[in-house]
Symmetry: D2
Subunit: 436 residues, 4 copies
């Protein structure tokens, strides 16, 4: 079975016992349930008019009643699931049981417990700058690790990352390799279903060497290049000239004796923690949550938009590269530690179906899939969504506009997901008439 198909059908009955305190139910809630041992998060919106409750649970409309602090409501999904709730409001939280009927097995309702709390409001106090020195590094984009720092939307964070192998700016190993991350950072007021905005202000090298390799990835090797697969598997150290911003191999071959190349710092990984009901991805993986994207435009000045699956967003970042050609062909780019400074913000209620990137000149979607042939479909589909969502283009206009404006680059071939990015120049977007 493909487990992504699993549908969660929710049937709610919250019974509130009578209480001196009067519940204030209207508002946005976060529901945490224990679904047979698996934690589950859902958005709940309640509208209270006297004893009557309306609203939305996890995307489905609900109706119910309030008697004292005893609450009951039902939501139905389009496949025919239905619900009853018996719960109690107390001190601002609701606790109780869910009875859920799955349309494919209607005679055996599920019973499980839940707790709902009001979602933290999204506020923008005076922005602050935080200097954060990491002491632990994480190897999964997991929602289960405790936040290392809590900040407000609009704040700036200055921190450091270790290299992909776990070594810091002093050359000291701090953690096992595999792209260990700094974080997670908790952003107050961020809720599942919002979008996280990360703007990279500065990426600054903080040591004078990087680690790489001299083989080429399997995805670009046909049998013609087999010699590269068999003979080359050596670590290659590059010297980073921090004054002139140039990289060069420490022990060059005869034809690279004078070789230097300008550095172009970037972050290989940036991610929000994934849904707590699923196995957390390792830090070599990527997906809708971002992750190990290894795209060389994720550098100074770039803005990254990420979907949020947990309260606080839980932002991770790491795997800095002094420089990476397209594709990260050696498996490693020029891997190094880095000083990173960035601001965070939240777009409430905006759902995006994957990571988006914006640079000074372009808006960019990324397809991440098991083959380039599938990745280009995803990159194109996401850009069509973006053009429809934010620029109101019709399908015919989308096709005409992409036909003359599309720029496709290959971002990554060295990981389980291959990446293709679709860039659209802002100079071309500016010629569109953005009305409904």
């Amino acid at each position: 079975m493909n487990p992504t198909k699993t549908l969660v059908l929710a049937l709610f009955t919250i019974t509130l016992s009578s209480a001196a305190q009067t519940p204030t139910l209207t508002g946005k809630w976060i529901v945490t349930s224990d679904y047979f041992g698996t934690p589950s998060l859902a958005r709940l919106t309640l509208e209270q008019q006297g004893a009557k409750l309306t609203g939305n649970f996890n995307g489905d409309k609900l109706e119910g009643t309030v008697t004292g602090n005893e609450i009951t409501f039902t939501s139905k999904d389009e496949d025919g699931g239905s619900d009853t709730l018996h719960g109690i409001w107390k001190n601002g939280a609701i606790s109780g049981d869910i009875v859920e009927i799955d349309s494919s097995n209607p005679t055996h309702p599920d019973h499980f417990t839940f707790t709902a709390i009001l979602a933290a409001p999204l506020e923008h106090p005076t922005p602050q700058r935080h200097d954060f020195t990491p002491t632990v590094f994480r190897r999964q984009f997991s929602p289960l690790y405790p936040p290392v720092l809590t900040v407000n939307p609009g704040d700036t964070i200055h921190t450091t990352t270790v290299d992909a192998g776990g070594t810091d700016e002093h050359g000291i190993r701090r953690v096992a390799g595999g792209n260990p991350q700094t974080g997670p950072f908790y952003i107050r007021g961020a809720q599942p279903g919002d979008t996280l905005v990360v703007h990279l202000l500065h990426l600054k090298l903080n040591r004078d060497y990087a680690i790489s390799d001299d083989n080429l990835d399997e995805r670009v090797l046909g049998s013609h290049l087999a010699i590269l697969a068999k003979d080359n598997h050596n670590n290659v150290r590059w010297h980073l000239d921090l004054t002139n911003n140039l990289a060069s191999p420490e022990k060059p071959g005869d034809h690279m004796k004078s070789f230097t190349i300008p550095i172009r710092p970037m972050l290989g990984c940036i991610a929000t923690a994934t849904n707590p009901g699923n196995a957390p991805p390792g830090t070599g993986d990527s997906g809708g949550y971002g992750g190990n994207m290894d795209f060389n435009d994720v550098g100074e000045g770039a803005t990254i938009y990420l979907p949020i699956s947990n309260p606080g967003a839980l932002l991770y970042l790491g795997d800095a590269h002094a420089l990476q050609g397209d594709g990260e062909l050696n498996g490693n780019a020029l891997e190094t530690s880095m000083d990173v400074e960035f601001t965070v913000d939240v777009i409430p209620g905006k759902r995006i179906n994957g990571r988006r990137i914006e640079t000074a000149d372009n808006i960019i979607t990324m397809g991440l899939s098991g083959s380039l042939d599938d990745a280009i479909k995803e990159a194109t589909s996401q850009m069509a969504d973006w053009l429809h969502q934010d620029y109101n283009l019709t399908p015919s206009e989308t096709a005409q506009f992409l036909g003359v404006s599309a720029e496709y680059h290959i971002s990554e071939v060295a990981d389980r997901n291959a990446g293709i990015v679709l860039k659209i120049a802002k100079s071309k977007l500016s010629k569109l008439t953005n009305n409904k």
Copy 2:
């Protein structure tokens, strides 16, 4: 960075303090280390001659000395890493520190702790049959869950699995969906680097319905079949006629009113737990460890060979299908609970580079990759390895033999990995001359 490239270079110095008890070091050991917060397992073989130690650590030769119960040895890898150890033998275990020099950063050795214990011997006592009723079900192929049952090689286990959605033989949901597994089972004496052998004796349906869907997977849909992607996303219940072993849709369309099809029970998932240093895969994923293979020859009478990454092997199984066409085109097959009976065994010291399958008539390799075009390469490469390893075929003979004997089927398209299997008939293998 692609984290699979991370090399672990080990430098050992175990200093044993003098002790009344004389250490017996010759033998096979399992070394567990705490690598900067990440657990790591390695095989260690020691040969003691007086004060001299030789052997092998994690694939590299070692040399060292014993003084009383104080142990020191060094292993070097081919990239130029080197080692020193300072450890103490006590009550059959060795504890101490590892100093590891990574050739890419030789001026900053790593220091971390370890414990080594003698590997449990692999024995075959009189085979037993175990009736095991599961009470918990796992959603990751993780080495961190405690074993539910410990058995000996040669033993038989009879147990049950819930369906892919977490529902048991009584129609009761027991766990969240996503292929929850029965297990892990601990097999005494199994060590990392061995091969686990699972022989499926019986797969028996234990309820009269299965759940499926009526859409087709994205991998087989071009834009020509887009109507199937848009219009069909309905759950479909199938009736299972346990007397006649036939399946039929409970609410058939006009052209399927009389449709019945013979059931062919199979297990979608069978796996060993993965390396403790990596993020554990969810039970929808697959890899060298097996996992969610969704291959319809994994049925009664089949034997599955799996590489072992943890002491005890830690076997999981689940996701039973009453029937599945090639590819599991609906995302779900006919998902149901099942009675499962199987024997386990271990081939010590045999490393295989992926799962292998054997049926009454065929030996079978499986490529699991992000595209069919990559999966066929893996399936073929693994069969070439098998033919070389067990049948001594030369490259030229391999090509000639495969050219006339290969049968490729598509096992799975509905998961993150697509699967292609390469079958070779035993009747054709029997014509080969198997000498060195």
Copy 3:
């Protein structure tokens, strides 16, 4: 530009001058035009009622008039093209000029000449058996080569094919290699838009050796199998034991000294000639017309359905294999000459969107594309069409039926197109209720 998008928009005005002979226009016509140097074929159906003409030209409705033997009519396509005709009927044929307006360039109509003749009727006289000895062999599936034999629907042809390298049953080279074909055979009454039916009665070896190779195709080689790509490129001769129907290498390696394998004769190529307006494909290529399909079920007893693009269908066949594993992994199968006996028939007016195959047990569609990942989409889409066209399945039923019934095999990896076949057992089809 992708030239397959070129639309032919036809605007007709046929003016018939007055004549003593009265034209009989009602019927099916074949229109041959000279479109700026490129020959073009189109179907024309005319319905004459007094001076009024209605009907269909190349898929578009037409209206017109007849005055004596002077004919005028106009057809319009859905993109807004329109037409005028000025032509003369004489001795059963119509000749004149076409004025065609392309909607994308409406101010510049095209002018070109045409000739229309009544389509030959499709008749089934008493079936005959033809013994045909080929003297020329063709290396393109071209409509320009003269037919070697004209037969009626229902007739049987017995002939021979040379091997893929151009060598005949006496070991004599007759033509350059590259799958030279016997044919084309002209089937009376077959018209563009009909379907050709070829039933293979007998495939009989007529010499005692076959030629093959000992390398593996690039599509199954990852860098892990690179040694097979570099070291093996030797011709391998196989002995064919015609008495016992066994094949064995003439100079076997040590592990294949006793190796024999049953032969299973098949045709690598079977095709109809392609559209005369396009470059004819070489005999190594494949497409909707069939061609070099290299599928090992195209053997004795199989029926092949092919779309027809030219009057007479112009059937080619060749590239016989004594035996081929799935994929034709060595680039060559066991290539040999062959005695072939087959019957031909025509299904008038039935358009199929690609080759179809039927065996004793299965109906089979084939995807042929530049990658396996695209080929599976085509195979599935064609089977969905077949199930809809001939079995009336709805999209939901199609998905449910395929989900439990699909069998995918890989037919071919060694050519420009990779092939995947989708087989459906007739025993499963027989359980469907085939009503509208």
Copy 4:
């Protein structure tokens, strides 16, 4: 069978009858043979010392003798084929018979006739500029069409191309659509095995409109974008503002009312004629010979390197685009007619294994294959060849250099071959040390 594997093994015996005229044999020859009805070209180098002949035929060493004007020589290939020749030199040409033994069928030698003439010398007289007005347009990259103009290496040609649909600068259709070509041009002294160099001096629009479409190609459509596949198949005319070099849709949708985009003229097709022994490709296809590459860097200032398969090279060009986004997503770019001016030159004896492109800033290789996943392998392999051939990089240096320097773009998705280009900046190449 995969016909590209066919080996031609040549066995020569040329008997020269005594003659008054003394043959001058030393030199480079072009051998044309009639191989059982298929024309074949081969290079022959002869070295005459008295009665003794040495040299090279089709890549294999030869030895032979001369007696008067009677010539005999033999060449052997590495698979064990061998030869005898019996031919006569007369008036500068040699005519006779070839007896060829194929190692896979040694008991049946082939006999066929040949003619050899001295290869035309490659000379560079004072460059000339040719104004050429085409009257015919070709729809195959065929060696069989007569040259339309013969020029010397170093010459400049100014000519025009019709658009992909066959319409010229006056809006008049001149030929059926499908990328009809201007040419072939014959370059004196160019021989099979040389490289053709085409430098594009000027690409100038010569009419004020272009034709395109509003759908997206299947390769970028997943089922999510199915709406674009179903609903959009309209021709779209673009206005070309020749004064300001801007394009805009003639009938824009609401959101493209003010849309303009700078034109960037390019040639979709540029090709040498293919090997006369194979079916000529249609002008929608592409391969080692170039062809329908549809790459938007093939514009003014670009230099294209193409392998030569025929005497005179036989250069074709056409399919001009006013503008094309990456991928040619609409199937058509902005298709228009064009004024083209270019120079030609020849690099004698340099064999390249595919087309190469050079712009002001980059050297570029192109992978053209049935999938993006295969195209990237070809692009990378060809660049590795280039870096080895012209810059002497070792495999390890190649990997390190590509790792930091590679830029991959997607050139084309709308044709049978998908294209990926690998660009290397000349500024990075200039840092290499190019010594042996």
